[in-house]
């Protein structure tokens, strides 16, 4: 039940929707079988509401998008990777409270 302003990233659109975007982009790497990922989903939805317009936020399913998952060496989920100017500038691995994730994002605004 992703919020409307949470995008869906794929191997196909990653270049255009994440790497070529000027402002910060938060990507939630997840999978259907990952319990903690499901716990994190409402937090990601809430972040998308809080940062509407300022930070692009979306999810990438690691099962369906192996190319991007391997390219950024994601080997543990949930993982939130923060991109800016096409590069990974920060990351949060595992479950974290919303306030802590905001502190990471706010460094790049």
């Amino acid at each position: 039940m992703a919020a409307e302003n949470v995008q869906t990233f794929t191997d196909g659109n990653f270049e255009a929707s994440v790497l070529k975007v000027g402002g910060p982009v938060l990507v939630d790497f997840w999978a259907e079988w990952c319990g903690p990922c499901k716990r994190l989903a409402p937090t990601v939805d809430a972040l998308a509401l809080d940062y509407g317009g300022k930070v692009t936020i979306g999810k990438l399913n690691v099962d369906e998008n192996p190319y991007t998952t391997v390219k950024f060496n994601v080997r543990g989920i949930p993982a939130l990777l923060l991109f800016k100017g096409g590069l990974v500038v920060d990351q949060v691995v595992g479950l974290m409270p919303k306030e802590d994730i905001k502190k990471v994002i706010d460094k790049y605004l």
């Binding site: 999978a31 079988w33 990952c34 319990g35 903690p36 990922c37 716990r39 409402p42 690691v62 060496n73 994601v74 080997r75 543990g76 989920i77 949930p78 993982a79 990351q91 691995v93 595992g94 479950l95 974290m96 409270p97 919303k98 306030e99």
Partner: protein, 313 residues
């Protein structure tokens, strides 16, 4: 509004306490916490929870417990407790968003995976180092990996990981395993599992490359150092109780576990503890549920014994 009971934590202990206090008409509020559902959310098939002849998946067991508690009126909110004040009535429980007041508090915050404490472990977390086989085993298909630890959780993780990895080396710093016989036998019978006992992890490589390439092991008897090439390291060396909120307010043992007496009572009147936060011995879903029931009944009796004016304020 002063609530009858606030339950902190939503694993088997917290949800059983919620079920019993809800049925006792205490209208419990459960604050589920960051790792909602607790350690069962990270397990696969649970074969030793009585009543499930074919076993049940850990997350499904938790889902059933939640629904059952909610059916009787338990209110469960997704939030984390940031502070408590337990020195006077009403007891105060704070989250980032709100402040709650209650006559009793049941602590069921459980325990979280312990780490080795190496700087390289922290750097490589999510890039080959993991504490959750069910979450991350998928990324190691066809590779050689290691599990650090000698207890039941380490055996379970190693066995689970053989579904993906070609070889799983169990690294343990003692010469004997702490795991139960049935789990040891299962692991020893698995041809994909190899053993490095009496070995301590010195370092995980390669932090420069940002991925796990090998680990340096030190033989605890001879001091000899060897390199074990692996692309993943799963840390399963036990747990630490989640009690940082309660330091200085509730008595705990040297390892931070809450001390209970006469059932589920803590050193603070009206505050009860259940599950792994007060148990470093049994640590089972069923014992957590059992002590959750005890905490609920103790809280109900305590509430009944409060002076009339405090019961209805």
């Amino acid at each position: 509004m002063i609530r009858n009971v606030i339950i902190i934590g939503s694993g088997p202990a917290g949800l059983t306490a919620a079920l019993y206090t809800a049925r006792a008409n205490m209208q419990p509020l459960v604050i589920e916490g960051l790792e909602a559902g607790g350690q069962l959310m990270l397990t696969t098939l649970v074969e030793n929870y009585p009543g499930y002849r074919e076993g049940i998946m850990g997350p499904d067991l938790i889902a059933d417990m939640r629904v059952q508690a909610e059916k009787f009126g338990a209110e469960i909110i997704q939030s984390q407790v940031t502070a408590v004040e337990l020195c006077a009535l009403p007891l105060v429980v704070r989250t980032a968003e709100a402040e709650f007041r209650a006559r009793t508090v049941i602590i069921a915050t459980g325990a979280s995976a312990r780490l080795l404490g190496l700087p390289s472990e922290r750097t490589l977390m999510g890039h080959g180092v993991s504490t959750c086989a069910t979450c991350d085993g998928y990324f190691f298909r066809g590779q050689e990996i290691a599990v650090v630890g000698g207890g039941d959780s380490a055996m379970e993780e190693a066995l689970f990981l053989t579904k993906f990895a070609t070889k799983v080396t169990v690294v343990h710093r003692r010469g004997t395993l702490r795991a139960s016989k049935i789990m040891q036998d299962k692991a020893r019978a698995n041809a994909k599992i190899e053993w490095r006992l009496n070995a301590e992890v010195d370092q995980i490589n390669d932090t420069t490359a940002g991925e796990v390439t090998s680990m340096m092991l030190r033989d605890v008897n001879t001091g000899a150092r060897t390199e074990l090439p692996v692309s993943g390291v799963f840390v399963a060396i036990g747990h630490t109780p989640n009690t940082s909120l309660f330091h200085g307010q509730i008595e705990m043992d040297a390892n931070g576990y809450l001390l209970t007496h006469d059932g589920a009572k803590t050193s603070v009147p009206g505050v009860f503890a259940c599950g792994d936060v007060q148990d470093h011995v049994y640590r089972q879903a069923i014992t957590a549920a059992g002590t959750g029931c005890m905490a609920a009944l103790d809280a109900e009796r305590y509430l009944d014994g409060l002076p009339e004016h405090l019961q209805t304020a």
